[in-house]
């Protein structure tokens, strides 16, 4: 089965092609030199940006020519299934991917009927992103942490999930991005925080430990954000600049401390056979290291996406979910009726 997957839930325009569970291509707009080839400007969020990029990204995933002079050719007739993120995400952005998927499903009709369409939940994509090249045992417990989500999910089997903990306010990645902004590092600055934190002293600020109640598996990051803001707001710019690595380390540590603490509680409560960790923040090597250590202490195996591109938003993970849904026969019945669901629940 060949699957073309499209993902436009937030800032990145993504497309991928899979053959069953194997990734053939995985294109992410911000991580390719698409713009050099094409020469466009890159606005961040909006619908227009996705609309301008979507054909390029899909063509690249399919190995079709980006410009008339280019010679490469993929083959449309190979594609059996088109997969698209239905939600959750930014509504106008989701709409672009869905419209494109609908259009393609109808246009490239295979022997009379259109190509089959599968609607995918973005969060399920993040869960399954850890499944590539890994053998998963169930029940598994998944920590997925990104700019938009922070969740602990019990995975009984593929397609059977239960959210057991989630953020009550900001997502962990969002908190890291905002801390970067407070330090004058721009937004989003999560990756810069990671780089700085490597050499910083995480003990120079005393950060609060929030949601201490052991019964609660939910997260909260707005309190530490506020505390951090307050601790640095009156410091002279030179002092912040001088100790910026230390401040980054303190903030990052307090975010990770909470992620670890709550994940540990969830492991103790649900006693999974395996751990999963995914989402954009999982690109952070320090966090990966800490989670690996935790898994070792529990003597449980942990699986994470095998490359960075599978941690951040990508279409390959959407394709993998679609593969399993297609195997179960879960297709969109009426293509015209498919609508975006900005706050789709798992």
């Amino acid at each position: 089965m060949k699957i073309l997957a499209i993902e436009t839930s937030c800032d990145d325009t993504c497309a991928a092609v899979l053959e069953n569970e194997k990734i053939l291509s995985n294109i992410i707009s911000s991580q390719t030199d698409l713009y050099k080839e094409w020469g466009g400007v890159v606005p961040n969020i909006a619908k227009q940006a996705h609309m301008e990029r979507i054909d390029l990204v899909v063509n690249k995933a399919l190995n079709l020519p980006l410009t008339p002079s280019s010679k490469k050719r993929g083959n449309w007739s190979d594609i059996d299934v088109i997969a698209v993120t239905q939600g959750p995400g930014l509504a106008v952005a989701l709409g672009v991917g869905i419209d494109k998927a609908k259009e393609l499903a109808k246009k490239y009709s295979a022997k009379g009927g259109g190509k089959k369409l599968v609607a995918v939940n973005h969060i399920e994509g993040h869960i399954l992103s850890a499944f590539f090249k890994n053998k998963i045992e169930f029940p598994a417990l998944c920590l997925t942490v990104s700019g938009g989500h922070t969740k602990i999910i019990l995975v009984n089997k593929i397609g059977d999930y239960k959210i057991v903990g989630e953020t009550l306010d900001d997502a962990a990645g969002e908190a890291l991005d905002k801390a970067a902004k407070m330090l004058g590092l721009g937004y989003p600055g999560g990756p810069i925080i990671e780089r700085l934190a490597k050499t910083g002293d995480k003990n120079i600020l005393e950060m609060p430990k929030v949601l201490r109640d052991n019964k609660i598996l939910d997260f909260s990051f707005s309190g530490i954000k506020t505390s951090f803001y307050y601790k640095i707001k009156d410091l002279p710019k030179e002092k912040i600049a001088k100790n910026i690595a230390d401040y980054a380390a303190c903030f990052q540590d307090s975010v990770f401390e909470q992620l670890e603490r709550k994940f540990k509680l969830a492991i103790e409560r649900y006693k999974p056979k395996m751990l999963l960790a995914s989402g954009g923040v999982m690109c952070n090597l320090e966090l990966r290291k800490r989670l690996r250590k935790m898994a070792k202490n529990f003597d449980i195996k942990i699986a994470m996406p095998y490359k960075k591109k599978l941690n951040t938003d990508n279409a390959a993970m959407i394709g993998l979910v679609a593969y399993h849904k297609a195997m179960r026969g879960e297709f969109v019945e009426d293509i015209d009726m498919l609508e975006r669901e900005a706050r789709l629940r798992l």
Partner: protein, 336 residues
């Protein structure tokens, strides 16, 4: 807490006949009597072992009823409309229509418009104010359940209560903030849940107090509105929006919309323009389309809308800007 007409009728008839009623309010349990009746007021004073010179605040239905009993100049009226109904007792100059003991020795009168349907309905049916003094013996702590109050009473006192209206366990709200507003002096005499600097500026010391301020704002909403929230990171904009959503009956978790830009909850829309950098993005979000057809929209980082869009929004919608400022780590000033 829902009370039917029959119960309200019964309360009103007990009050009319000079009785003492123990009933729930938006803050604590209160002792209600018909303050226009001398006998009823004396009974209350006896019950509370109260020195007659010390005043007892009253609950009225609205500003109109307040004006029947107190002199409220235009500048004080603004305070009434901003703070009430809500957890405040405002002290104005009395018209001496009520006896001493209700009015203070200097002729001032403490007035509440509780955010509580039962009390408002009772005062309306009675056609005049009722006492809104907290149910405790003078100098003791207020009570949040009928049982805890009754336990503190002697048999003799118990018999003095003519009717008990049990509203169950009340949330542990503090008693109202008492403020003397005469001649705009704004003196806080008792600090309750909320403290205000002036009619439009509140001090919040906790997440809970920010929620209370959101409640106060919510109670005044009578037509579709856009609440534009402006303030630094971590000053309580999301806490405020979450409470508004909760008051609208949204049951699911309301989380920060920074990443998604906006979360749509039906009648309620929660938006965050933090990540918006330019005007074109507002257009591409189809901003003006999204916000129409909503009852309440909370927009964090409203300043990122840009001058022109803000001017346009002001023209076409009922916009209220609320600003959040740090005073110190735990304290915020919220201007409504």
């Amino acid at each position: 807490m829902v009370f039917d007409k029959k119960e309200i009728k019964k309360i009103v008839s007990v009050l009319k006949s000079g009785g003492l009623v123990l009933m729930p309010s938006d803050t604590v349990y209160i002792l209600a009597v018909n303050v226009s009746q001398k006998r009823a007021v004396e009974k209350l004073q006896n019950f509370k072992n109260r020195w007659i010179g010390k005043a007892i605040s009253v609950a009225v239905t609205d500003l109109e009823m307040a004006k029947d009993y107190a002199i409220i100049p235009k500048n004080e009226e603004i305070l009434y409309s901003h703070l009430l109904p809500g957890p405040f007792t405002l002290i104005s100059q009395g018209k001496h229509k009520l006896m001493r003991g209700i009015e203070a020795e200097d002729g001032s009168l403490g007035i509440r418009i509780p955010d509580n349907k039962l009390i408002l309905e009772v005062a309306k049916k009675l056609g005049g104010p009722i006492s809104a003094t907290s149910a405790n013996l003078s100098g003791r702590r207020p009570h949040y359940s009928v049982d805890s109050f009754i336990k503190t009473l002697s048999e003799k006192k118990k018999k003095m209560i003519d009717l008990i209206v049990d509203g169950g366990k009340l949330p542990r709200n503090k008693p109202s903030t008492v403020m003397d507003i005469r001649e705009n002096q704004m003196k806080v005499l008792r600090k309750g849940e909320l403290v205000t600097k002036n009619s439009q500026s509140f001090i919040s010391n906790s997440e809970r107090e920010t929620q209370k301020i959101a409640q106060l704002v919510f109670n005044k909403i009578d037509k579709p509105i856009i609440l534009g929230l402006s303030g630094e990171l971590g000053t309580g904009k999301t806490t405020f929006s979450k409470e508004i959503g909760k008051l609208m009956g949204i049951e699911e978790k309301i989380i920060s919309p920074t990443f998604n830009i906006y979360n749509d909850y039906g009648d309620f829309l929660h938006m965050d323009l933090y990540r918006i950098n330019n005007q074109a993005e507002i257009e591409e979000l189809t901003f003006f389309k999204i916000i129409s057809e909503k009852k309440i929209v909370c927009i964090e980082w409203i300043e990122n809308l840009g001058k022109n869009n803000l001017a346009k929004l002001k023209k076409i919608a009922n916009l209220k800007i609320i600003t959040f400022d740090y005073i110190d780590e735990k304290t915020r000033e919220i201007k409504i």
